[in-house]
Each structure stands twice: as structure tokens, then as C-alpha cells.
């Protein structure tokens, strides 16, 4: 049962990645693209968690933690650039 649920979750998460990627390619303005990047990052954190579950190594969760942290900083930097000041 656990395997079935995790496989379903994996399929749904991959579908969500594809949909957010479509928004990223289509998105008319830069802000739309940054939102798509943010959502892609947030979606890929559980994806990394599921990969960690499948391979049974807990260090993969550390990668997810670092990714969440740094992508947040990246989004803040893009937003500051759009504001017009990056000092």
C-alpha cells in the first residue's frame, strides 16, 4: 500500500512539474516566470523527499533543505531587481 501511494504521488508530482514548466515557457511576463520557478522549486522539494524514500538515504533531504534555502534567496534577488534596486 505504501508503494502504491508513493507511486501515485510521484506521478502526480511529475505531472505538476510538467504543468508548471508549461507556465514557465508560456508565461508572458518575467514575474510569471519567477512564480513558475518558485512553484517548480517548491514542487521539487517533495520530489527529492520521495527520491530519498525510494533510495533509503537521508542525505537527500539535506539537498532539499539547501535547495529550498537558496532558491528563496534567488527569488528575493529577482524581486529586488524588478523593484529597481539591488544594493
Amino acid at each position: 500500500m505504501v508503494d502504491v501511494a508513493v507511486t501515485c504521488a510521484l506521478v502526480l508530482i511529475l505531472g505538476a512539474l510538467v504543468l508548471a514548466g508549461v507556465r514557465f515557457v508560456a508565461g508572458p511576463t518575467a514575474v510569471d516566470r519567477v512564480i513558475a520557478l518558485d512553484v517548480l522549486t517548491v514542487i521539487s522539494l517533495p520530489l527529492m523527499g520521495i527520491i530519498a524514500h525510494l533510495s533509503g538515504r537521508s542525505i537527500y533531504l539535506d539537498v532539499a533543505l539547501i535547495y529550498g534555502l537558496l532558491s528563496f534567496i534567488g527569488v528575493l534577488a529577482v524581486a529586488r531587481y524588478l523593484d529597481g534596486g539591488l544594493s
Binding site: 518575467a30 520557478l37 517548480l40 520530489l47 527520491i51 539535506d62 529577482v78 529597481g84 539591488l86
Partner: protein
């Protein structure tokens, strides 16, 4: 199961790289580079290389984005490169 992840992440990387190369605006290319490094980091995890994935996260998502944006900002505020400057200003207002 892993094949599906590889297929989705790989085609996503391809799409991001195409957006980065073909897109008209510089800012779009910078954001697209972020997407490429995100999916590359997922692929490194599948190749069981968490250390490389961490480095990719730090360099690709954090450092390059911030440095690129900083340089774009400096170019814009220095007032050199007049045409580039105007197009960058326009880019900010359009947001495209």
C-alpha cells in the same frame, strides 16, 4: 519509475535551456538558468550524487542568479551602453 523522473526532468531542462537561448530578454535567460540548475540537481540525486547536487544548488540557483542580476543592475545604473540601458529599463517596466 526512475525513467519517468529522468524523462520529465531531462525534457524540462531542454525546455529551460531553449527558453534561455531563444528568449529576447536577459532577465528571462537568467531565470531559465535557475530552472535548468534545479532540474539538473534532481538528476544528480537520481545518479546518487548528493554532494554534486548540493553544489549545483548552491552555485546554480543561488550564486549565478545573484551575480547575473547584480551585473545587470550595475550595467543599468552606470548609464554606459545607452541602447542596452534603455532596453533594460523597458524590460523592467514591461516585465517581459
Amino acid at each position: 519509475m526512475e525513467t519517468a523522473i529522468v524523462l520529465v526532468a531531462g525534457s524540462g531542462m531542454l525546455a529551460g535551456a531553449l527558453v534561455a537561448v531563444l528568449g529576447k530578454k536577459t532577465l528571462t535567460a537568467v531565470i531559465a538558468a535557475g530552472v535548468v540548475s534545479l532540474l539538473a540537481s534532481v538528476l544528480y540525486l537520481l545518479l546518487s550524487a548528493p554532494d554534486v547536487a548540493m553544489t549545483e544548488a548552491a552555485i546554480g540557483s543561488g550564486l549565478t542568479t545573484i551575480i547575473f542580476l547584480f551585473v545587470l543592475h550595475r550595467i543599468r545604473s552606470m548609464g554606459l551602453l545607452q541602447e542596452e540601458n534603455e532596453s533594460l529599463d523597458q524590460e523592467r517596466v514591461d516585465g517581459t
